[in-house]
């Protein structure tokens, strides 16, 4: 199973007064595209239109170069996973997964083999005889994924697939999605309002806000170099980084970025993401000897004075953003190009 290339050409989506600007977007085969936007921005409508469940008001859709605008959903080979699972309540887990296989006329034997393979891949073998009503949210969403994957979709469409889950389960399923994508090389379109999901899962991220497609790019581009005031405001000023974790023993780990390493609370290993709220980063002229465990020297690359508060970008590298009061800015006499020290506590680092 390998992914298809999708192209949206001036696609128009409308529903009862709601309307999105014509959407043009190309998704290469094998890409994990995350569309972020606030709840109610029409993201579900876009997915349903791609799946053929809604008719576009205008524009065209191409899958691997062939136009599919008028194709009914059952002939598009897209897998759809809704936020609230939508398992068929009258069928067992195994029957749910096999539903698409039956429709394709597979024999009983083949169906069973494929269902078992999928169940093994998603770790849901013990659930096969259960009814959907008896499953937890995380289990149900794994089953929904298996059901969608069963038909070997050319396109996997995920509609806020993790939003209804509790934080721990969400984290685990995020790992499942990442592994599935790596293993199967599928084209995935995943819509969400959660920036962490976009940052951790996406090969590419598209930002939709107020009916407009504002920016498409790698997660780093979108979150570090927003192309407009709108995107910057929407994604917020965040210190988002990716690095390798190395446990230190006795309850701490060190996270290695490009040139520096950061101490964090907890022991873990492997790739990780972190964010630090700008309020948590303290600036000073001299090195700080305090309880803040992370302290770096850097150069100020930008100052955005917003009246009572000011945002100061300090390149260590990487670039950290700190928010300080206008008063502090004046009293410390900070200028772009100057050297300063930044510090933040290990407990202020949010790992994800």
């Amino acid at each position: 199973m390998s992914g298809g290339a999708l192209r949206l050409e001036a696609l128009e989506v409308r529903l009862e007064g709601f309307r999105l600007a014509p959407l043009t977007l190309a998704v290469e085969a094998g890409t994990y595209l995350v569309i972020v936007g606030p709840t109610g921005a029409g993201k579900t409508l876009i997915l349903e239109t791609i799946a053929g469940l809604r008719r576009p008001a205008g524009g065209q859709l191409f899958l691997d170069g062939a136009e599919i605008t008028a194709l009914p959903p059952e002939r598009r080979q897209t897998g759809f996973v809704y936020q609230d699972y939508l398992l068929f309540p009258h069928l067992t887990v195994a029957e749910n997964i096999a539903y698409g296989l039956r429709r394709r006329g597979l024999r009983r034997r083949e169906r069973e083999t494929r269902v078992e393979a999928l169940a093994a891949m998603l770790g849901i073998e013990p659930l096969l005889d259960r009814r959907p009503a008896t499953l937890s949210g995380g289990e149900a969403q794994r089953v929904a994924l298996a059901r969608a994957l069963a038909v070997e979709p050319r396109l996997l469409l995920l509609d806020e697939p993790l939003s209804a889950l509790d934080p721990a389960t969400r984290l685990r399923l995020r790992g499942v999605l990442a592994r599935l994508h790596d293993a199967l090389g599928m084209t995935i379109i995943h819509v969400t309002h959660d920036f962490e999901e976009a940052f951790t899962l996406g090969d590419r991220v598209a930002v939709i806000h107020e009916g407009q497609l504002l920016q498409v790019g790698t997660p780093e581009e979108v979150f570090r170099r927003p192309n407009s005031e709108q995107v910057a405001r929407f994604v917020g000023v965040q210190n988002l980084f990716r690095g390798r974790l190395q446990p230190l023993g006795d309850g701490y780990s060190r996270l290695h970025l490009d040139d520096i390493s950061i101490t964090v609370v907890g022991e873990a290993e492997g790739e990780a993401h972190l964010s630090i709220r700008p309020e948590e980063i303290v600036l000073s002229r001299e090195p700080l000897h305090s309880s803040a465990r992370n302290s770096f020297r850097g150069r100020i690359t930008a100052i955005e004075d917003r009246g009572t508060l000011a945002y100061v970008a300090v390149e260590v590298p990487p670039v950290f953003t700190s928010v300080i009061t206008h008063r502090s800015l004046e009293e410390m006499g900070l200028r772009v190009g100057e050297e300063v020290h930044i510090a933040f506590k290990a407990s202020a680092v949010h790992l994800f």
Partner: protein
């Protein structure tokens, strides 16, 4: 600790409501009590009674099946689509409930009678409506179809339409999505609608008697015996039919019982 008594208002309302419940229950219990088991068996032994009851059950069943084939698709459309005039259609379905039964019989006769337009059209197919079983069936169908269509529509409307959308993305045609998802999930509602319709069909008298005094259905037989021989002659058949209706009704309540007996 002193306990407050039940509110006097609740007592008053219970008394008033109890009167109404008594008014429903007493005639039925009285009728069943007035007929000895031996008299019931004797009535069942009469060929005329057995034929009338069998005919009633069958004719109502046929009417229910006809409504299943046409009314369930209609209910599905009403639950899934918005279209101009939808409210009018929903209203039209309920109209037969309020049309006087004898007037409904006259109206059907006007269309399906021997000399009438549909009657003449279908006569070559061997379908006669006056004084014939098909007439009984359409009379029952007319007065009772709303019960099935309304129940089926509510059943379909309660199913998340996205379940069928998921089925479509998994390769199901619209028909397959209907048959494998919507129909099984609405089945309980449809079944209880069918039982209600069947029971309502069994009960019809006015529309049937206009179209077909003969062959005689049980409600007409009750009337005829009452007219010809008086109350005592009609009583055993009436008791039998009340028992049959109650049985169907208990079946109906069992299909609509909430699963696992949860308190609302």
């Amino acid at each position: 600790m002193r306990r407050r008594r039940t509110e006097p208002l609740t007592v008053l309302f219970a008394a008033l409501g109890g009167l109404l419940l008594l008014f429903i229950a007493a005639p039925l219990l009285w009728t069943l009590g007035a007929v000895s088991p031996a008299a019931l068996m004797a009535a069942l032994g009469e060929g005329e009674v057995r034929r009338a009851i069998t005919l009633t059950l069958w004719a109502s069943l046929v009417a229910t099946v006809l409504a299943l084939l046409t009314g369930v698709p209609l209910a599905y459309l009403l639950a899934r689509h918005d279209f101009p005039g939808k409210r009018f259609v929903e209203g039209l379905i309920d109209v037969p409930i309020v049309v006087p039964h004898s007037a409904a019989g006259i109206a059907l006769l006007l269309l399906f009678g021997r000399e009438a337009i549909v009657g003449r059209l279908l006569a070559p197919l061997g379908l006669r409506f006056v004084a014939a079983v098909p007439g009984i069936v359409i009379a029952m169908l007319f007065v009772s179809l709303a019960f099935l269509v309304d129940a089926a529509r509510d059943g379909f409307a309660a199913i998340d339409p996205r379940l069928e959308r998921v089925a479509r993305t998994l390769g199901a045609s619209p028909w397959q999505a209907f048959r494998s998802i919507a129909l099984p999930l609405a089945w309980r509602s449809i079944l209880s609608g069918m039982l209600m319709m069947w029971a309502r069909g069994l009960s019809e008298f006015g529309a049937v008697i206009i179209l077909a005094y003969h062959p005689m259905v049980a409600p007409v037989l009750i009337f005829e015996r009452f007219e010809a021989y008086g109350l005592d002659a009609a009583l055993p058949v009436a008791a039998l039919m009340i028992l049959i209706s109650l049985a169907v009704f208990v079946l109906l309540r069992m299909t609509t019982r909430r699963p696992e007996g949860r308190v609302r």
